[in-house]
Symmetry: C2
Subunit: 373 residues, 2 copies
């Protein structure tokens, strides 16, 4: 066992992928150790019935840990869905906007917000409260720039734009309408005040687990908005009423989400500690940018910089290619930026260890030094 583990760990590289992304080694090890048979159950988590006591326990513990980590109160329901955040782009307006005369307001701070609003337009009236597209989504709106409609059905924001690397640094305060937040790429990376939100959705494969499960946190009163003509599986009430099990949920993805929650709680020490760790990692890299004399040019403006996705350009594309290639040779992989922004993107989610970020920082310093010499 030990020998094989060591080989596997030694083989591991630092993975800066924007998602699916790096997972805590102890989560992977636990999943591996239990993969043939869950302790005391006698079959694999991949084989247990979603109605079994074993899964009852996994679901209950995961929900309990999520509620306690995020401080989710009794006014909010938590459900686990499939289809990724992309399906939520439709489910949110199908449930909260369809058939209403009000507009849904969208604050668009990057690619994902822009994708979300497209789907909302199919379901009802939409109002663009702010759109940062004119400067290629390099910043957040100032308070005075957001123009809400008179009585929005809800206001939608994206807490962290994965592609541009722009992140709201505090829970947005945008008036009395229900605040809907796509938290996909910073969910469980820091504390948030769930009471301020009407609905939060987040796929798991950035900070919280593996692809295949999406957490939706919804304020109970908003469930009354869903109309009876919705397809059963696209109606939030179906999932709430059946405790995330109207049909077979993605059992393994829920299990891994549970393992990640426990890792944050027990090994990291909770979301405030997680946040400190993440800020510390991001600062290492942003400090290199700021001291590089423009060699590394950050995409996001300094006050909107993401602690999750550090985006920057090098002097030209040839140098960027060389940078990515050299990094890869050192075991620092998946640093190429998204094609719509270009340059470099270092995704340093929860499970990216400080050692990985330090290795990247050292490489950045050496790379620039070598160009100057």
């Amino acid at each position: 066992m030990t020998e094989r583990s060591l080989v596997s760990v030694a083989e591991r590289v630092f993975n800066f992928s924007p998602g699916p992304a790096v997972l805590p080694l102890e989560v992977l090890e636990r999943a591996r150790d239990e993969l043939l048979a869950l302790p005391g159950v006698g079959i694999s988590v991949l084989e247990i019935s979603h109605r079994s006591p074993a899964f009852d326990r996994i679901l209950e513990e995961t929900l309990g840990d999520l509620r306690s980590l995020l401080g989710i109160g009794p006014d909010h329901e938590v459900v686990f869905l499939q289809g990724g955040a992309s399906l939520q782009f439709s489910m949110v307006p199908m449930n909260l906007l369809r058939g209403r005369t009000q507009a849904a307001d969208y604050v668009v701070t990057g690619t994902w917000g822009a994708t979300a609003i497209k789907e909302a337009r199919r379901e009802g009236r939409v109002h663009v409260a702010w759109d940062g597209g004119t400067t290629n989504y390099d910043r957040l709106p100032a308070a005075g720039e957001i123009a809400l409609s008179a009585d929005p059905a809800y206001v939608h924001v994206t807490s962290n734009e994965t592609i541009q690397g722009v992140q709201w640094k505090h829970d947005p305060d945008l008036g009395p309408a229900p605040l809907v937040c796509d938290c996909s790429s910073d969910f469980l990376s820091r504390p948030i005040d769930v009471a301020k939100y009407g609905l939060i959705y987040a796929c798991a494969q950035k900070n919280a687990g593996v692809a295949g499960v999406t957490t939706v946190i919804i304020r109970k009163d908003l469930l009354d908005r869903s109309r009876d003509d919705l397809p059963t599986m696209l109606d939030y009430r179906t999932h709430v009423k059946n405790g995330s099990r109207p049909n077979t949920p993605p059992v393994f993805a829920v299990y891994v989400l549970g393992l990640v929650c426990r890792w944050i709680r027990d090994s990291v020490g909770g979301l405030a500690a997680m946040d400190r760790h993440n800020r510390g990692k991001a600062k290492l890299l942003y400090d290199v940018l700021d001291a590089s004399g423009g060699f590394y040019a950050g995409h996001a403006r300094p006050d909107c910089r993401s602690d999750m996705n550090v985006t920057f350009r090098l002097p030209d594309e040839a140098t960027e290619k060389e940078f990515v290639k050299g990094a890869s040779a050192r075991g620092l992989i998946d640093l190429k930026g998204h094609r719509s922004v270009g340059g470099i993107r270092a995704s340093i989610y929860n499970a990216m260890p400080m050692a990985g970020v330090e290795a990247l920082r050292d490489y950045m310093l050496e790379f620039q030094q070598a160009r100057r010499a």
Copy 2:
């Protein structure tokens, strides 16, 4: 390594769950052995980007193996979706029926067909071509009993009704309209003639892998039916056009599906061999029923018996309870029938070894013997 494996294997019981269900031990072992780092990749399959060369390879191999196992020709597309068969209950009529004047015809042979038709009614006109509810879904229609509408948009069948244990023994021949089949609980258990179908959908967690991925096989010409006002993620064209990756697919579930395909190909010897194995297992149990003098009373009529889910009653509920309890004590678990049918259900999908079925048969014989004594 070896020591831990042996402990885990020894801990394993025979799992007769209707799904999620038993997986081949070699699939579990391979998944476990690779869980920290895919060979040559350096990170876990749980961490790889869905745009990475590693996942390109997994997706390509899985699609290739599926196509070759099932003999899928160039007229059909294959995509991997989320949301289970239950979401397909809606996606099928959203894409193939919405906005048409024709009716969709449903042949209802059990609980899942009855659930599918409910969702279709939301999308358009529906015609019940046959419904076996009057005899609690214990049989299939005879050829002359099916009353199709004049020009159906499609005809929907359920190849195997998991709850009632009723299975079509051949590809249904139901006229020129596109045949749509929910193959969820016998997918990859036997050869089928895909050319006869317009659309096949199947969740993975019975015979083909873990919960979280649903395979959809669709004849290319049917893609023209989808309307542009469909939510992007609910439009089959989105998934076909983007090769199952419009957003992040359930990477791990696709990986396991691939491992199961390879197991069927290399260890079992293909779908014809799989079918022989499955029929052999089912026969062991049905022979016990038939020789029991009515002690074990099969739910499905003999000519419609499922090779996947063997459903039967015992003389009374108290005896059934005792039967389940005694089985469980012997490591034969999850034999309780669905509440709507009652009694016992032994789900003996692909990965249930003959040894498990033999153990159940022996227990059944002994149990009856003890009651007689």
